[in-house]
């Protein structure tokens, strides 16, 4: 929050429209969320010179109100209205909160030319019963008739509510820093406030010693004031703190806050008499204890920084003071601390102790050493002026700050190239002057010194370009495209495979899902078909998102549940995602889930339902599409959480690349088929595509059937048939599987159709019969199958 009335102390913006200024500031990068203004047009201070009862009312009064250039008749219903009061008058045309427009009117037949107001009617006070009963606002006798009442009450401030990006949230959150920001936008100068004090013969060094025993405190300054008179703050300090949302405590405490809001430097005031004559700044000892000024006992960690009196902690540095050395109404002598502590350490301590304050937040963002020095002088000046303090000469200090100025060296050409604009050297000089960055210019080269208040600016061309650019205005940039030559872009690595496979699966009618990588320990244990251990988050947000999944099947099952519960009956899903094991080994996987009808037309009795063979077909199609024809097999294998009789592992070149099966009925009663493939395993090079001529000579087709045990697999028979059939066997199809009458129990009959052909001639019946007989003999010899007659 920035109080513009306050900013006016440091920069002349009397002529500026503050709403318009807010837009300019926002455009230049400091985002002003809200402009809060209490100004209301057509309000004026008036004096009641005559007050009579309304003839038609028991509570209304008819008043004559002097507003300077004229006297108005106004009807007023407030209980406290009386002659001689100075009041706030809303003239016709004034718009009060709630869009209440004041007009000339007649109240019970008597003309009324405005309204005498209470503060709550102006939106400046809450409308409580108490406020209502009190009635109209009674201004003090010093109020001047004809002037703006809100100005008189110091209630006409304009406040900016900021939402600033991290890098600028140190210098833009104090009034002098903000004044500099306005200065560069309006090209004006900033005047820093007075900080002089009367000379004193006594020096702090006669009373006080400082020792800093930690690396985490690069700068520590202390000054001493005596004869302090603790009392009420002057009006302007109270009002400004109030507007900012801080309660006025007393002049001393208020001054420390006031200076913090001026310079961004938090100060700490110790009661010197309670403190003693020594300060040692050091790292806290683990388990060390302090009672902070909120009355709570705090146990400290070794990573905290403490201010001690040489023995025990008197203050948690940058976070909160101790109760023992707190400034009270009786304090006479104050030791003022203005210091820089390591930002990270303060952030850590403040968050560990849950003590985020205006001060700790500022320490946590980092501070500018120049203002550490200025702030302590300024506080002394104000204490002398408003608390009658005597300021001792001298400062006790520990100073290890690297004050080497940050100097950026650059040319206008570099700035232009970075932004894509065409400034001249003169333009750049103007911008640097506006920024108040001192610079030298020689033979086209700039050397600009970055002021310490701009902690965010580093001496790079980019940083200078940013400062110049935001003042130049990004809305003035002209869109261009990079001039460098280009080639066509492409999908690279696993992304390429993901896209190809994704498109194929979508064409099959499967719907892409995106689910969470993090899962629950229970979910992670489902469908564990690989010997993989899960990686577990050491500090999860919740148990149900604490484990990195190694398989996507449980997630797809969740999607199934979600849709099924919403009466979606045909559910075809896939997901392609990365998975990680306990060694963070990455594997991209493709999971598929099918349930319900794949193709259906009910009235037409047309239906293909999801089942094992359909899913197997999709996978075969996908593998063929990717170029793996004849390189994969499905091997029966029992897999956890799949139906023990309906599941298989999928092999590519004899290596397992995935699984397929029906979900075990103990997990889901419904018929759900799932499969999962490793995408990494498919990122294998396949042979280039080649033309193969279709057979020209007619083939001869012969059918036969074998009877084999129920649990034997057709694949074994097929392999023997293929081998025996040799190169003349061009196609082999299963066309019937039969169990029942004429087939013994525990047996099944599988009928095959074999086509024989030769690319170069027509085969004779004899040749085919020879091979056919060989096929039968081999199958009977090598398997448990018997020819069915």
């Amino acid at each position: 929050m920035i109080d513009l009335q306050w900013v006016k102390d440091y920069i002349d913006i009397e002529d500026e429209d503050l709403e318009a200024l807010a837009v300019k500031i926002t455009e230049a990068g400091i985002n002003i969320e809200k402009v809060i203004t209490n100004h209301i047009d057509n309000l004026i201070i008036g004096e009641i010179i005559k007050c009579e009862m309304h003839p038609d009312s028991d509570h209304l009064h008819i008043c004559e109100v002097n507003i300077g250039k004229e006297t108005l008749q106004i009807v007023c219903g407030a209980p406290n209205v009386k002659v001689g009061l100075k009041v706030i008058v809303a003239l016709p045309g004034a718009v009060l909160p709630g869009n209440f427009v004041i007009k000339k009117s007649k109240i019970r037949g008597v003309e009324s030319n405005g309204m005498i107001c209470a503060l709550y009617e102006l939106g400046l006070e809450e409308k409580t019963d108490e406020a209502y009963n009190r009635g109209i606002e009674e201004l003090s006798a010093e109020a001047t008739v004809g002037e703006d009442p809100l100005k008189f009450l110091n209630l006409d401030d304009t406040l900016y509510e900021l939402d600033v990006h991290k890098h600028r949230n140190n210098d833009c959150y104090y009034h002098i820093g903000f004044a500099y920001e306005i200065a560069c936008i309006l090209n004006r100068k900033v005047n820093l406030p007075a900080q002089t004090t009367k000379p004193s013969a006594d020096n702090i060094k006669n009373h006080f010693q400082l020792k800093v025993d930690t690396e985490k405190c690069p700068l520590y300054l202390a000054k001493m004031v005596t004869n302090v008179q603790v009392g009420e703050s002057p009006e302007f300090i109270k009002r400004r703190l109030n507007a900012y949302g801080m309660r006025s405590i007393n002049n001393v405490v208020d001054i420390s806050n006031y200076v913090m809001l001026e310079y961004g430097q938090p100060l700490h005031f110790f009661d010197k008499d309670a403190l003693g004559d020594k300060i040692v700044v050091r790292d806290a000892k683990e388990g060390e204890y302090i009672k902070t000024l909120d009355g709570l006992d705090r146990t400290l960690k070794a990573s905290d920084i403490v201010i001690t009196d040489g023995e025990k902690p008197v203050c948690i540095a940058g976070v909160m003071g101790g109760e023992e050395t707190e400034v009270t109404a009786n304090t006479k002598t104050i030791l003022i601390e203005s210091a820089i502590f390591e930002a990270t350490s303060i952030r850590y301590t403040a968050s560990a102790l849950d003590l985020k304050s205006e001060a700790s937040i500022r320490y946590g963002k980092g501070l500018n050493y120049e203002y550490t020095e200025r702030a302590i002088e300024r506080a002394c000046h104000l204490l002398e002026k408003y608390a009658n303090a005597t300021v001792l000469s001298g400062t006790v200090s520990h100073d290890k700050v690297d004050k080497t100025p940050k100097v950026a060296t650059f040319t206008t050409k570099e700035i232009n190239a970075m932004l894509g604009i065409t400034l001249t050297d003169e333009d750049v000089k103007t911008e640097l002057n506006r920024l108040d960055f001192p610079f030298t210019y020689q033979k086209g080269k700039f050397k600009a010194t970055i002021p310490p208040r701009r902690l965010d600016v580093d001496p790079y061309v980019n940083d200078i370009a940013e400062e110049v650019g935001r003042l130049y205005g990004y809305h003035n940039l002209v869109s261009t495209l990079p001039k460098c030559p280009i080639k066509k872009g492409e999908y690279v690595g696993d992304v390429k495979y993901r896209k190809i496979i994704s498109k194929r699966l979508r064409a099959f009618g499967l719907n892409e899902c995106k689910t969470y990588t993090l899962t629950s320990p229970a979910m992670a244990q489902l469908f564990k078909y690989e010997a993989k251990e899960n990686a577990i988050l050491p500090n999860p947000m919740s148990v149900d998102k604490s484990v990195l999944r190694t398989t996507l099947i449980p997630s797809l099952l969740n999607v199934y549940d979600y849709n099924k519960a919403r009466k979606v009956n045909d559910i075809m899903l896939y997901e392609i995602s990365k998975t990680y094991d306990v060694n963070y080994e990455e594997e991209s996987k493709i999971a598929l889930l099918m349930h319900g009808n794949y193709i259906i037309n009910e009235w037409h009795n047309q239906k293909i339902g999801a089942d094992f063979y359909l899913l197997k077909g999709l996978i075969e199609n996908l593998l063929d599409y990717l170029g793996f024809k004849n390189r994969y097999t499905f091997e029966k294998q029992v897999i956890q959480d799949l139906h023990p009789g309906i599941c298989a592992s999928i092999m590519l070149d004899r290596k397992p690349i995935g699984i397929i099966g029906k979900i075990h009925p103990s997990i889901k009663k419904e018929d759900i088929y799932v499969a999962e493939l490793s995408l990494n395993a498919l990122m294998d090079k396949t042979k280039p595509l080649k033309f193969k001529e279709a057979l020209k000579y007619p083939g001869i087709t012969k059918d036969l059937a074998f009877v084999l045990p129920q649990d034997a697999s057709s694949k074994d028979i097929e392999e023997v048939i293929k081998k025996a059939g040799g190169r003349l066997l061009t196609t082999l199809k299963v066309f019937d599987v039969y169990t029942g009458e004429n087939i013994q129990e525990n047996q099944k009959s599988i009928a095959y159709s074999l086509t024989f052909a030769d690319p170069n001639r027509t085969l004779t019946e004899d040749e085919v019969n020879q091979v056919f007989t060989k096929v039968i003999d081999e199958v009977e010899a090598k398997t448990a199958a018997v020819l069915r007659h």
Binding site: K166, L477, G489
Partner: protein, 346 residues
Amino acid sequence: MPLENILTEMKKAISEITDEQALNEIKTKYLGKKGIITEFSQKIKDLPLEEKKTFGANLNKIKTVATNLIDEKRLDLQQAILNKKLENESIDISLPATKIPFGSPSIMEKIIEEIEELLMSMGYDVVDGPEVEEDKYNFELLNIPKGHPARDAQDTFYLQDEEILLRSQTSPVQIRSMLAGKGQKPIRMICPGKTYRRDSDDATHSHQFMQIEGLLVDHEVSLSDLKGTFDIIAKKLFGKDCQTRFRPSYYQFTEPSVEMDISCHHCKGQGCHICKNTGWITVSGAGMVHPKVLENCGYDPKKWQGFAFGFGAERLAMVKYGINDLRVFYTNDLRESQIFDRKEMD
């Protein structure tokens, strides 16, 4: 019967019949072995020589015409039968079709693929990097050292000490791309990928979300080039009338940094609840690659510049399709996602 009347009578008979059997009877009656026409031809031999020739020629003509009449009628009858049959086979074409299964992309994938296609045509490769990432790629080399406040905003899932984490942004892929380029190769890449932050899932937060990272590194690259690139993306996604603007911003790994806004397509910039009455919607953070980041990755900032940008895929989809709850993207409600199995033409 006189010869002249045969055809007239036959025509009359043919016109009165409706089936093939009757037609066959007519054929027999006139052209059969004992048919009227056949009988006439048997009479020829009895005629005097001079009449034989004309009568024979005349009779042949009649025979040809009669045969044609029969054949034509036969075709007509068969056609009528076929027509009748087809008429009976007629179906109610208004009954429902057999549904061809359709597979939709996820809602996010839709918008991601749009951006990918556009940017590939502008020379950007589409890449991805690991989701389990090292701290140095996710933070350190991006100019976000340990203890930096920028880390607080990206509350990260750490897996192992402060070294291995679930990436909190896709920006580490910038680092990986630049390191792979070894300070020599120009880079144009985008990376749509999953990212993770410690947020509780609700309408506006998700512990898992998708970012679309973009990076261009070359010898002459400016902030104006970034603006031009953003213009093209915005117009492709939100239509030709879409306006864009840059606002100064801050990111640790870009300098200068900007936020990229599009004009609110809902109210056309007039102000509405979607754009919070500003007329603008922020869709991306971007900027010129920070010289320290270039240096960290082996690119000499005196010779190379670059720009980087990042979109939130969910955010883009929410703005484009009018979605107001982030969870929609992860429930995979088929009733919602199947809307997106549709090609969108420019």
